[in-house]
Symmetry: C2
Subunit: 295 residues, 2 copies
């Protein structure tokens, strides 16, 4: 899982990576496309990433002044950033290569295996402009060679079709839906009916709904497992909320970010009220630069 590449000056090293087929993009840190997802990222050790080894909070690309290296405007969810977001949606893993910054190998690059994009969001960066952040989690050792590899080229569809009768299926996790005791309580309060449009899926043994934490759980985002931070949603609206495509305003109108249409009015019950601060956090968490009004 760990492979080092010859030392040398930076551009030669990156060229070596490109020639080895590990990272095909000789300049940008993210190789891939919006359609296919990201193939690989390179951590330069100088870009504001939080690197914890098996978990990386990777900062997106763009909006830097080439002379000073300072950020001069908001990063967009385009190019490499859109590729990483697409990887989160498809579940396909991303190759991670690190630039070694210390010791005798300093300046060389090391391939460190496959990671999954588990989450992404936008936040204010150190220069006052918005950056995109991506949470990358290393796949377990057993899956490093078994999962579907990142798709390298647009012509790969033909190759996939040829392998169509391949007996071994390689799968990757696209999405994990979690629940908690609090979440199950909120679902029962709403009788498994989506708070956005009133859809109630009838599962094999009763209603089926999913609980969405408005402000994500965990120390990174500070969300708590309380009923005021949970919505009862159908899976379709849960996906849209998690991707930041549902905006819930303080008056509880639910807006589809894709086309600005109003989808409905968030339904509450006497027992279950949503905390507006969490809604505000969600709007900012997924904010696009064009969303001034929504913040």
């Amino acid at each position: 899982m760990c492979q080092e590449f010859a030392s040398g000056n930076g551009s030669n090293n990156r060229r070596t990576l490109a020639q080895a087929g590990v990272h095909r993009q000789p300049i940008a840190g993210i190789a891939g496309s919006r359609d296919r997802g990201a193939e690989s990222v390179v951590l330069s050790g100088t870009h504001g990433d939080d690197d914890h080894g098996d978990v990386i909070i990777y900062t997106g690309e763009g909006a830097l002044d080439p002379q000073t290296g300072h950020q001069t405007h908001d990063q967009q969810l385009t190019r490499g950033n859109a590729a990483l977001a697409a990887s989160a949606a498809t579940g396909l893993p991303v190759r991670v290569t690190r630039r070694i910054t210390m010791g005798s190998q300093a300046g060389s690059y090391r391939y460190d295996g496959l990671y999954r994009v588990e989450d992404y969001w936008s936040e204010q960066g150190p220069h006052g402009y918005r950056v995109w952040r991506f949470r990358l989690v290393q796949l377990p050792a057993a899956e490093q060679n078994e999962v579907a590899q990142p798709t390298p080229t647009p012509t790969a569809d033909a190759n996939i079709r040829e392998r169509n009768d391949h007996p071994r299926s390689v799968s990757s996790v696209q999405r994990v839906v979690r629940s908690t005791a609090i979440a199950n309580l909120v679902k029962r309060m709403h009788d498994y009916t989506c708070q956005v449009r009133g859809i109630r899926l009838q599962g094999a043994t009763g209603g089926y709904a999913e609980a969405a934490h408005i402000r994500p759980l965990g120390s990174l985002h500070g969300g708590r497992d309380t009923i005021e931070n949970v919505l009862c949603l159908c899976p379709n609206h849960h996906v849209l909320l998690d991707q930041g495509m549902l905006i819930i305003n303080n008056d509880h109108t639910v807006v589809n970010r894709a086309d600005s249409t109003v989808l409905g009015h968030l339904r509450e019950t006497a027992d279950h009220r949503v905390d507006r601060q969490h809604l505000a956090h969600h709007r900012v968490h997924h904010a696009l630069p064009t969303d001034e009004a929504a913040q």
Copy 2:
């Protein structure tokens, strides 16, 4: 994770388990309810379960002649069976206790920790009648004490509310959506548009859809990762298909099993045709005793 209970005759032992709060149902193998899910199951070692330690294919309850122990009609998705199905939908874990059948401890019971209901289906049992089967997978050691515990009593909602400001959130996996290179190809073929009703979710960087393997992958069900075995669905219809609530007939009408309404007509493309054998397998895989016509 492993705790033995005093030897003795069968009924005394089961009473001991009930008194210890491990398994509250002194006779049936499955304790729980359709609303809350299953709290615990007991493996007697005589009930046709396939026990692989960390993975158990557990046979549902009911339809046995009390005199002969032979199955005399189809098992229903009710009572304990419905409770296990509900556990699959909520993601809450289930306690597993095994009856020891050999050695000096034979006849006693051992608590073996928390398992998750990953899948369930119906199939023909050894006596010619349908049985329900549940795939239980042991939680990793690290999660044995951390995840949300099975909810023991209907009055627990009040307790949960009281713990509402508890800073530590305990989550369980409700649903895992997997993808493969083939699955992603099928999604692109349909431009991320659901084949049932034509819904296309607009995600942050493009369309979002999920791929459903009609016949599940793996040696247990024999499904293969080929485009003829994959559907492109919106998350809502994916959930319903996985729970056996969407029936797709050979003429491609899609029927909602809950109320027998026709939801639509499965859309195909020139490049992507679905294999009717896989559709037939899916109908039988989730068959209810009342589904004669659909088989």
